[in-house]
Symmetry: C2
Subunit: 333 residues, 2 copies
């Protein structure tokens, strides 16, 4: 990678095949150029591995080439992969990304939003469940990924997985294999993602003419291995009978599998288990987990596309994107 100092507007103009005046107009967002021209210039900047710091500021006036990402839990590989891919794509467009990990805390989220507001960020990517209830939200182009906000800005779009279909496919998989008492393990908080997955589960059962057992809807207060292990252990000990378990994340599935193993229940013979996310652990676990694959590549591509569009002063293409999911069949069903 070349050093910053060795690259000038002239170099960029040569690489892009446009005049230096055009490069300057693009960098300063001064108009008088086509979308194609801007793309050429941005591609040249990206290929040069060059972030023209002061010039890039001109990409959006009165703001810095900084984007904040609000993320609930960077320990969960599903989120950390999303964040990484968004960051890599934004870096190519000249933006630095500050990752704000809220650890699922509303207080932390609001503290971050206040800080970001004073930082003249150009845009925001937000994976949250709280939304802009307190009016503290930075008034910048915003992409919500995954979880729906409770309030919403004018300049924003929502990008989410097709969680309804995900829950449906997961449940269909075990129905197809003859299961009749299908349990589900959900997050006790009312996040839009989890609600949709549970709706998909219910719909699949009803569509198949099977019985929905309300007493087989289990929930955890915190989405992790240990809580899933505890909840499923208690369910088994209290005599709940189920022949399938749809876990709404892979880490919940990991904890549930450990609880089933500890109770001497064979998977998949006695109980079939389906996870959600398709993170590495689902593939490499002792018993590789059948799961719902979320298309992190496409979600992050769309997020960056729409955010850059809005940061350049254009409207987003759609105000709501739903990205398809797919079932990955492994050893637990």
């Amino acid at each position: 990678m070349k050093k910053n100092g060795s690259i000038s507007i002239k170099t960029i103009s040569e690489m892009a095949g446009v005049s230096t005046a055009t490069v300057s107009r693009v960098l300063n967002d001064a108009g008088g150029f086509s979308l194609e021209t801007r793309e050429k210039v941005q591609k040249a900047i990206s290929e040069a591995g060059f972030v023209p710091n002061i010039m890039a500021r001109g990409l959006r006036k009165n703001s810095l080439p900084l984007v904040g990402i609000i993320v609930p839990d960077i320990i969960n590989e599903y989120f950390s992969k999303l964040v990484l891919q968004v960051q890599i794509a934004l870096a190519r467009c000249g933006y630095s990304v500050f990752i704000c990990n809220t650890d699922e805390s509303l207080h932390q989220e609001q503290t971050y939003l206040t800080s970001l507001k004073t930082m003249m960020i150009s845009g925001l990517v937000c994976i949250s469940g709280y939304g802009n209830a307190n009016g503290n939200w930075p008034n910048v182009p915003t992409v919500y990924i995954d979880r729906h906000p409770t309030g919403r800005l004018a300049l924003s779009t929502i990008i989410e997985s097709d969680n309804l279909s995900g829950g449906y496919h997961a449940t269909e998989e075990v129905l197809r294999r003859g299961c009749t008492r299908i349990a589900v393990l959900v997050d006790s908080r009312n996040l839009s993602t989890c609600i949709a997955r549970k709706e998909g589960y219910k719909k699949a059962i009803l569509d198949a003419g099977a019985t929905l057992h309300e007493d087989l809807i289990f929930s955890v207060k915190k989405v992790d291995f240990q809580n899933a292990y505890n909840v499923i252990t208690v369910a088994i000990q209290s005599g709940k009978k189920f022949d399938a378990l749809f876990c709404t994340t892979d880490w919940l599935a990991m904890g549930a599998l450990a609880a089933l193993k500890h109770a001497g229940i064979n998977v998949p013979d006695q109980v079939k288990v389906v996870g959600y996310d398709d993170i590495s652990i689902a593939e490499h676990a002792a018993l590789p987990i059948t799961t719902i694959h979320q298309d992190v590549d496409e979600m992050s591509r769309l997020a960056v596309d729409e955010l850059v569009r809005m940061m350049n002063g254009e409207p987003c293409l759609r105000d709501h994107w739903i990205v398809p999911v797919s079932l990955v069949r492994r050893s637990t069903t």
Copy 2:
């Protein structure tokens, strides 16, 4: 958690059992109070779940209650856990943390440092291998974790695992089990962590009077599953014979195990494998991995302790901390 608005200096003073004037002096770092008093006040603020934004700025004059964390790869759970714990502990002291994921790129790291410099951060936690070579470093209290910097600031401390002992224990484990042709898989970049682990490996072999086989030192350009898989597959195909393999991270061990399995080589009967880090995947993998446990709890505790100390204008306790590691024996040895 109470709302910010409902908590006053009076509330904090009652909780801490000190006068409001003392709370104010602590918040403004005005002197005239003991270390214990400050701890009491900070504990009360933390318990109240309260970050007094404007007041907190007084904790360090001319700076904001923001800390930057430079991290090379948030996808690796070892790093994301370190970052999370540092962040949680700093939040208790009233600091927000911006996570800067460099994706192991020097260019990204320098861009971040430049941005952080303009943000009036109070402190920096840095996991990098590049150091402040370009003079762009924010002149703030800094804690380096893990990897040694190539240059170093006056107000700084280094916290690292005992990587030499880690490499030694890992190698000793397979020597004890009779292995004589012990391979090692390292990062091709000259990071201090990896150099120390390799030195420990060499020392254990020499101390045992065994033979060091230079042709069994394998290296990857990027530390991940796929690169490890490829390098070990090539090693096997080119006829390299080894009865043990020390992988300097758990993800390298995961890739190596997949390559060995694909080649029909039994672990641990034909080849014993030891990883490093003790992340979740090592515990939950199909073949749970014998590995070196890094004490992330202690490292993050020390990092925050020393950073807060320096941000409060005191010298750090030590300029170099070495945190002990331990061997976790599982199914690969």
